[in-house]
Symmetry: C2
Subunit: 473 residues, 2 copies
């Protein structure tokens, strides 16, 4: 079905509206659905330019029962901004102003369409940075990061995006505007609505402004790479590092298959074997901490260990930084399928990696594993022939088995990419029937007409694929 969105042209807004096929197609997919072909074109695209615009659009759409799905950079990995039930794609990228930097308070106010790297550039002159930034800083908007509760390489030391959001301006489904949170660094006042919006994927409200906390840049930064005889050695080294309380700012793992792909891509004569990439931040005594780290991992078959504080550090990190491209280009006949991530308690990290690798080897699927190892986080992707249905099916089975195993270990189905479309089927397995029912009640209370990003997080469709309303109104 489609929705008549011509009312958008009559609204009094500063933003623009388009019904052009090229605009609609540009808002049909994110990175996941671009690969799987599961995109859906919206009936209209609107680019609001202010909070008032967002309010006007939502109010009008809500009255008419027309779905509105917020869209930003389109680089999510679980289909989060796909307008599953058509209607309006609301593109937030024109609301991209850095509104105010308050260095004395370590705070910045930004609109949702600001790209991650722009935030760090805006505060660098004050000797500050936004610590939980995902690796894709220059490909992601802050709005997208907030509503997916993203995280990144430095999360092992500094936490996830949620930990650095102080205040949000949010437009609710009926167009009303609310400020959640506080400019104070701590509060115990009333229910924590701010963290309910963080990670809600645009299903409860649309973020139109955020106040973020910043951190001072460390005086000392040093990092490097360690190569191990085997993957099990590398994984055991990560586990020992974390449980020994080594103060790492980044600690990343790539398995030997991923290392081979990186070697192919970079053609740089890198050593074979699984690798750990690490970075340390400190104001004093960074070398002592790195020595401590080295002493912790040295019993695990370290083949090579190198650190640096200058450009050489970037070179050492290259195999990790370019890994996504390396996986993509490894075999012209194979495409990455459904890149995903799970997170488990660190004590289960060796087991989840071993489980994934063994299963993939047994089923003869190329399944490189990597990720923010210090968090117990593993990212993976399967390489499949896009024309081979059986191979795709096998890859999906492995993917599902890894998620289910992560849940058995007390972990989560999605560490940093949200639920979107891709992880909906695991929502109840992770949160239980009652937990999901609590979420449904909140959705029904805040968005009774189910106009905000319908079909995401919850699988709100009947057997014919028709949008199911959450309330009886």
């Amino acid at each position: 079905m489609s929705y008549d969105c011509s009312f958008l042209e009559d609204l009094s807004i500063d933003g623009t509206v388009s019904f052009e096929p090229s605009a609609l197609n540009n808002h049909a997919t994110d990175w996941l659905t671009e690969a799987t072909g599961e995109g859906v074109t919206p009936d209209a695209v609107v680019w609001p330019e202010s909070t008032a615009d967002v309010s006007t659009i939502l109010s009008a759409a809500n009255e008419r029962d027309v779905p509105v799905t917020p869209y930003a950079a389109g680089t999510s990995l679980e289909g989060n901004p796909v307008p599953l039930f058509k209607g309006i794609s609301m593109d937030m990228t024109k609301m991209n102003a850095v509104l105010e930097v308050r260095p004395d308070d370590f705070q910045i106010d930004v609109e949702p369409g600001v790209m991650g790297n722009v935030i760090n550039e805006a505060v660098e002159e004050h000797g500050m940075f936004f610590p939980p930034m995902p690796s894709s800083a220059d490909l992601s908007t802050i709005g997208g990061m907030i509503v997916n509760d993203a995280s990144g390489k430095k999360t092992v030391k500094y936490g996830e995006v949620a930990d650095w959001v102080l205040e949000l301006e949010v437009v609710l489904a009926d167009g009303s505007v609310v400020e959640l949170g506080s400019n104070a660094v701590k509060t115990s006042s009333g229910y924590n609505l701010k963290d309910l919006i963080v990670g809600s994927e645009g299903t409860l409200g649309v973020v139109t402004r955020s106040t973020l906390e910043l951190e001072g840049l460390p005086e000392q930064i040093k990092g490097g790479r360690a190569v191990f005889e085997s993957m099990d050695d590398a994984v055991a080294a990560v586990f020992d590092t974390v449980r020994s309380g080594v103060d790492t700012a980044k600690i990343e793992l790539i398995d030997s298959l991923a290392a081979e792909m990186a070697n192919d891509y970079l053609d740089a004569g890198l050593p074979d074997g699984s690798m750990i990439f690490f970075e340390f931040h400190a104001n004093h005594g960074i070398d002592e901490e790195i020595e401590f780290f080295r002493s912790v991992i040295e019993s695990h078959g370290v083949v090579e260990f190198e650190t640096s504080s200058d450009e050489r550090m970037d070179e050492l990190w290259r195999a990790r930084d370019d890994l996504a491209f390396a996986v993509q280009q490894y075999d012209p006949d194979l495409s990455p399928r459904h890149p995903g991530d799970v997170t488990v308690p660190i004590s289960k990290y060796p087991e989840i990696i071993r489980f994934a690798k063994d299963l993939a080897d047994e089923r003869e699927i190329l399944f490189p594993c990597f990720g923010h190892a210090g968090d117990g986080n593993v990212h993976y992707t399967a390489l499949v022939d896009p024309d081979d249905e059986e191979m795709i099916h096998t890859a999906e089975e492995i993917y599902d088995a890894v998620v289910e195993r992560a849940l058995e270990y007390g972990g989560t189905a999605t560490g940093e990419h949200g639920i979107g479309m891709g992880k909906r089927r695991f929502l109840e397995a992770e949160h239980g029937e009652i937990g999901v029912e609590m979420m449904r009640k909140i959705k029904a209370a805040f968005d009774p007409n189910d106009v905000l990003n319908p079909g995401k997080v919850f699988p709100e469709t009947d057997e014919d694929g028709v949008r199911v309303r959450l309330s009886d109104d």
Copy 2:
């Protein structure tokens, strides 16, 4: 009115029930209402001994529309566990087991009635601690800390209780049991229900088990005291310390009036003047960081500066540690009235302190200010003659003016004690009509009969003081 709670005796639970006046009286007040005389005796007290007990009690009470107010140590400061509408006081202190410590994962599972100091004792052998512990660790249960989202002296470095809670087992109003959160250190799966329960003061559900994150004890701990010529100097020193990014683990202020009270109490010949108490945690280079701190504050009229890493540190801290007793005993004719706390962005810290002190001086009320200065947090209390209604009224006016000013500064009405009864009148000023309406919708969705701690957070009474139901059922 009263509720017939005799049904409790027929329930199949392991826990005990009492209707004895002494038991009822013991559950009528917390620390606030003990002083103000605003306590309310419940109709019955029940001590559940398991999650199943809590579920059975809540289910039965909910069917009969009988209020249930969780109670633990009774040391809260905003009337949070007072059974405003009578009914059942559910005392959680018999559920006080440390269930499991998982040192490899830096995790501990505890029941809600465990005292704070017991947690630190249980994990000390693993070289770990629970960082956001409030100062009242040996007077507070972990359940109370969680549902008030408490924080403490070390929050300036490590964050508040919410930041260290990974998973909660919660019994909802109808008796159903749910697990919220994850054992993984990060997740972006579904709505963040865990942080909705944290800080909800027992109005949305009853916490029956929690998984907490732990931190490794630092290799180096050093702290001390700095005394300043004036209060403005001390406050300016705190502000400069925070905005310079000094890595303090604690930084506390007491104003010159509080210092005078501490001097009186300790009779230790302490210097006059406002003081800062500080502590540093590091694995390496603690002396360099303390030197940095000293260089930052030295332009602010430092009269005395001393640090230590042994028992001398505790001596230096004594004036701060014993302050509550010092205030209490300062003048036999005066009693502390409604101790409160607000938190503001650090750049407004000098202004809020100056505002509070000037107003109290002008109105001739003794109003010592102190608190977790590095968070922009100020605690205060007024000393009043309990028989002097006008003086009490003046103290309340000062108290209200400080909260209102904190909100004007973008701060919060309650940094760490929750809303309870004491701060209900500021809920809408802080969160706006729409924000409060969102909270009400959540309360109505999770507890439609308003049986869980009714009258708290929201002022749900009509003009005759009668309990008002939130839903139409």
